[in-house]
Symmetry: C2
Subunit: 390 residues, 2 copies
């Protein structure tokens, strides 16, 4: 058996796995029955503006309507969704007298939809639900049922209990959390991911890969999460090139979607510096979250390497790589990033050396900084950023 | 990447993972705080008579009392617990004006405790909760909070939503199921398994191994479950011999406990003929469930082999076994059973050739028969039983 953690780590952890997932091509057809199961007759369909124009959003609306469900569309969700989007969504929820939320999208639509349900159901201010205030509101009841439908194989927000929302006052990404924010049912239908453009297929798949990789590297004993994370990394490596060559390959799309769900399930363990920095960059500058993560990956691996050698060895063993396992694993990851056409520098996102002090400070206060395999400080985060801009 | 399923299988499945798990040595000390978290001031502690005499039951009682919690002990649970045990437990629950259940034990105490909570909270007849009647009662509310504390590393009942109870009228094991029967918090403390005698350590570990193995072999696309199941099989193979040699080895006990939880998490996919037959034998004749499973294992593998070659190859690859992978995996499993001193014949359980027609019929109607990798009939089940008695 391959150990994935340092042997001096205590054998303890707090474990949580997610929810009812309906996985498979064509299963979006079950949406009407699932709405009824959760007592939803008038759901608010939350998605982003771009997606609202595409046939897949129309298909979800049509499936619901044909099943006698009366959805209302709310599509005012931007990339890196904001507190304002959530407040507008909660208003739309009440205006429509809705009785549940169907969240459709990549991370933006899903995270916004879950937060809309929480705010609409609990009332009060969104800031009450923000980490670390969320503990005080955890016992409040009344979040309506949520159904999630991912349209990318990346975020895993469909199975994650929290949402990441940009607080426009603080210009930071913050976690919104409530125990009832977990999707009651996930419809994981790879057909919903078929129309994703090439560059987003690549960036979201790298995001999913990094969820698995950072979760695996979190120093907590959690054999179930680690096993699925190793499988998730390998599964993306196996199928991403196939899907890039043949975007309609449903087997490949399904395997990427499964691996993205594994990533978000595994990262109940936590994440690390890639995500801490990527959240900071998303809030201060913008850019695609998955792409930002992927550019940061090799530099954070440099930072963490002494602590994550068992994890990388486990991946190398699972992949059957020849040669020294840690180097082989890193070379394999680097090759996959090249195959996904990930740029080398954060300059494509608009990050410049002038941003470094601010970004390092914001990242250091991010929740993902707390579970990085090695302790972080302004110095080490700045070093990573400098290397990733060069 | 290693495929664990036949490539012609549709890429679809219904996925469910479990609950809040507090894993680690000494964590039973958190019981008081966890009771309070779930609003339990007067829990019913459900366990079996043998365990009630041991220091671990006393420790749980003491930890609760010191934390200001007022538990009442109910210890009238037999091996292969019956409907009568559950009814008596529900009466004890009401007599004590209890407000939740702490289920402590191996499979018997845990399954009985969960069923007691359901019957006490929902009222009516236990048969209303029995598969397949359970669908009608699924929308009823009122099951009090359940905390589970495993004392064996085998059953995984601590994370399973259903209970298996012997219906004394039908002389069959039946599933008791309600959506609120999932433990709110599992305390998975390997210290609670240290006093388990050698033969039970072996039999329960083989039960956990078989949960992982049968779940892996269920023909459903579920990469997360399969990854943790492969890890679970390997982890038990790595650590069971260590624990048999050194029963106080806490690292080994922890790894067996983690693998047993993985097994029960993975078997959300389903189980197979080992469990269908073992349930029949437990209800009609008795005997230890894990031991019965382990005796049946090689013969059910014979029956299923043509359908489970990818699964066995994946295990062999993960283990790094040399030689033809399916044969190597089977030899590895057989060696582990020898190491665990599993007898060759069901005669030790009291099964004779005369029992075969009745046992095959009961097994064929068991829910686990529906997910066996190859379709079952009276003939094939009888063949397995004959081979396992010889």
């Amino acid at each position: 058996m391959i150990e994935t953690q340092n042997s001096d780590l205590p054998l303890r952890g707090d474990w949580l796995f997610p929810t009812d997932i309906r996985f498979g091509a064509g299963r979006v057809a079950e949406i009407g029955a699932i709405c009824r199961k959760h007592g939803m007759a008038r759901p608010l369909l939350v998605t982003d503006r771009g997606l609202a124009q595409l046939p897949i959003a129309q298909r979800v609306m049509d499936e619901m309507t044909e099943a006698g469900i009366h959805p209302t569309l709310f599509a005012e969700v931007q990339e890196n969704p904001t507190d304002k989007n959530v407040v507008a969504g909660a208003e739309a929820y009440h205006a429509a007298s809705a009785d549940g939320v169907v969240a459709l999208g990549g991370g933006s639509g899903l995270d916004c939809g879950k937060a809309v349900a929480a705010l609409a159901g609990l009332g009060g201010s969104l800031s009450d639900l923000m980490w670390p205030n969320h503990e005080k509101t955890a016992t409040r009841k009344g979040v309506p049922p949520i159904i999630t439908i991912p349209t990318t194989a990346g975020t895993g927000a469909e199975v994650e209990i929290a949402s990441v929302i940009t607080d426009t006052t603080q210009r930071r990404k913050v976690g919104i959390w409530h125990p009832q924010m977990l999707s009651r049912t996930v419809i994981a239908d790879p057909e919903m991911t078929l129309s994703l453009p090439r560059h987003l297929t690549a960036a979201t798949a790298m995001d999913a890969l990094i969820h698995n990789l950072e979760a695996l590297c979190v120093p907590m004993y959690h054999p179930m999460a680690d096993a699925m994370a190793i499988d998730g990394v390998a599964r993306i490596g196996r199928w991403l090139p196939t899907v890039l060559d043949d975007p309609a390959n449903i087997q490949g799309r399904a395997n990427l979607l499964a691996a993205s769900i594994a990533g978000a399930t595994a990262f109940g363990k936590g994440l690390g510096a890639m995500h801490a920095l990527s959240h900071a960059i998303g809030a201060r500058i913008g850019g695609h979250h998955g792409l930002t993560n992927a550019i940061l990956m090799p530099h954070v691996l440099d930072l963490n390497e002494r602590a994550i050698r068992p994890a990388l060895r486990a991946v190398a063993s699972h992949l059957g790589l020849a040669g020294e396992p840690v180097a082989s694993c890193r070379a394999w990851l680097a090759n996959l990033a090249i195959r996904a056409e990930i740029p080398k520098s954060l300059q494509v996102i608009g990050v410049t050396p002038n941003h470094i002090p601010d970004l390092a400070e914001v990242a250091l206060r991010d929740i993902c900084a707390t579970t990085n395999p090695v302790p972080l400080d302004l110095e080490s985060l700045s070093t990573v950023l400098r290397a990733a801009i060069d």
